[in-house]
Assembly symmetry: C2
Homo-oligomer: 414 residues x 2
Amino acid sequence: MEYLENLGQKAVEAKCELQKLTETVKNNALQSAADALVRETERILVANAKDYEIAKQNGMAEGLLDRLKLTPERIEGMAEGLRQIAELNDPVGEIMESFDRPNGLHINKVRVPMGVIGIIYEARPNVTADAFGLCFKTGNAVILKGGKDAFYSNAAITEVIRETLTQKQISADAIQLITDNDRAVTTAFMQLKQYVDVLIPRGGAGLIRAVVENSTIPVIETGTGNCHIYVDEDADLKQAIPIIINAKTQRIGVCNACESLLVHEKIADRFLPALGEALKENSVEIRGDERVRALIPDATDATEEDYGREYLDYIISMKTVSCVEEAVAHINRYNTRHSDAILTENTEHAEKFLQGVDSACVYVNASTRFTDGFVFGFGAEIGISTQKLHARGPMGLRELTTYKYMIRGNGQIR
Amino acid sequence: MEYLENLGQKAVEAKCELQKLTETVKNNALQSAADALVRETERILVANAKDYEIAKQNGMAEGLLDRLKLTPERIEGMAEGLRQIAELNDPVGEIMESFDRPNGLHINKVRVPMGVIGIIYEARPNVTADAFGLCFKTGNAVILKGGKDAFYSNAAITEVIRETLTQKQISADAIQLITDNDRAVTTAFMQLKQYVDVLIPRGGAGLIRAVVENSTIPVIETGTGNCHIYVDEDADLKQAIPIIINAKTQRIGVCNACESLLVHEKIADRFLPALGEALKENSVEIRGDERVRALIPDATDATEEDYGREYLDYIISMKTVSCVEEAVAHINRYNTRHSDAILTENTEHAEKFLQGVDSACVYVNASTRFTDGFVFGFGAEIGISTQKLHARGPMGLRELTTYKYMIRGNGQIR
């Protein structure tokens, strides 16, 4: 694949250049890119209208069409995102540790850029600017492969940013977009190990799986969330309903929404009828076990498959359990290592849950919806990691860096 | 693969139990396992003799036979390794960060075990005890797949450890050995993603490549080292020769040995003849560019392929360069992101090299042989990571852990 080789080589050249830029230069470029996006709104909207028309003709679903569509406000939002990234501290260069060895070697562990980051995503043009901003700020070159349904939009946004970089005398190859939409090219991109240091897929479970199965580049898996809330026997039940309604319905299609509910059997009688009412008022369909169905007449039968599903819809699975240990075991079996919560006033149960549940984020008495780089105060987010290598949970700027050891001696031999 | 499913399920059960053990319990178990290895020396030696005989009949090379062979001293060494691990601080439970958000959420970033670690290695039985010790200390269950040539040795060592754990009323499945040597089983193991959190191959470049290409589990690549030394125009040439001889010949088959040498053209005339003599005295064959060959009569022609090779032998490739930038570019093209050194008294050149070379460990005026967990003071080492995700360079106990966010609220919704 000569096309990809060429892209890879250019990214490597850009990476070497980016690593030398000062924070001020990077921030100025980000501000200029933000201005340029706003200035070129018309051009981006024209490109986006083309994508939108084609997608509509191809029968794209309403929800996806909405994510594809750009407006002047949304472009302003993209620009604002870049400006916010410019305001954040650059983590690169931080001396993470410093130590001397008995033989006189002085060792510094220094935070450095990853190098070249690959991002594979779906038809969300805002990711284009966003991913560029985060990678650029951390001194990484980025190669983007966006969904083909957003092809013209992504190309326009990329062009505007590249023009800005060129004006600033920075290598435009800091951001490259793969414009060949052949599936074989995408697969080959996942194996461009010689040039790409890390691959981050952003999108649905199918996309993530395809990347994990085909990539030889190290992957950070993001975003699939089968999040649970466990209502303990010692829960504050008045607090429980608003938390569950928030976690389930505040935004239905996001990875930190609650998809499954566990309820201690001792409080089922008292709690489930009221909860059933509240969920019904919010148009949430319930799929539960026998006990749940006995107490919530509208509930249908939950299959084994239901417990493992990320609905991203007005549906919730529900199960009664006999103790916190059973809740933890169920969650560890079915969750996606994303976010899970216990509602309880019992600190011993809370502690068991915090220790036992194997997730990036484990909550006590709060909605799972808080798993988010902005909410955590990172100022930005490239995604939510659901694996355990490198980064777990919300990933901000720091998670786009690695480190190296710089070792200074005066002739030491072993 | 029912066999692997079963192994995976047992590892997950063991993992949950291990996470609850106190540091004292873990340390006592490690000490007991060390005692048991020594006590059962005869049993292990009998098993090892079986492996050794078969390997010899199969015509295994001398160097590999030596790595396979166990002696009472080597078994004592394995036990001593476990005792040393018991002495180290347990990194699990460390609160890495702690912060409060404006909405009242209290967030702790807490160091936790990875969970289940898979290790694939070659015919080195000492890795069996070593990998167990490191994983166990950090609360991880380990599934081992050792080289089939060390099958009986690995099985005996694993049995002794499992017996000890059972006596200590700890799940023996904290260590499991894959005893089916079918290649298809090993490949399936690399895809046991549902149960295994991270896979660490330990061995030669071929093994690492096979794992990277076949695994769907996140992999930490270790150990391939095409390490460079660049002798700058401002090097202390008296210091340079001992460093190069040390890095090349102190131990020939290790990943941090020097495989390639770059020399500034301005000092070539003064330096190369003496260096050529010193390398010849140490039986090192030189493959160099035209300039090198003109100054060292015994040197043969270095091909493009030579510059990319990890010889692990008494051979070194050599090239003259015109500046530090050319050295950095050459190294970044051919190295394996392991360890590279500059020899110079010029701080500006040293800085350029430290910043520019993309390796886990970058040295100024010291031998590359220092890239090692023990030398770095980590007290132990599971391998040297040559990738950029999660861990880079020597990996000790801390690098076998991940983190999770524990978030405590009092009813927060979004």
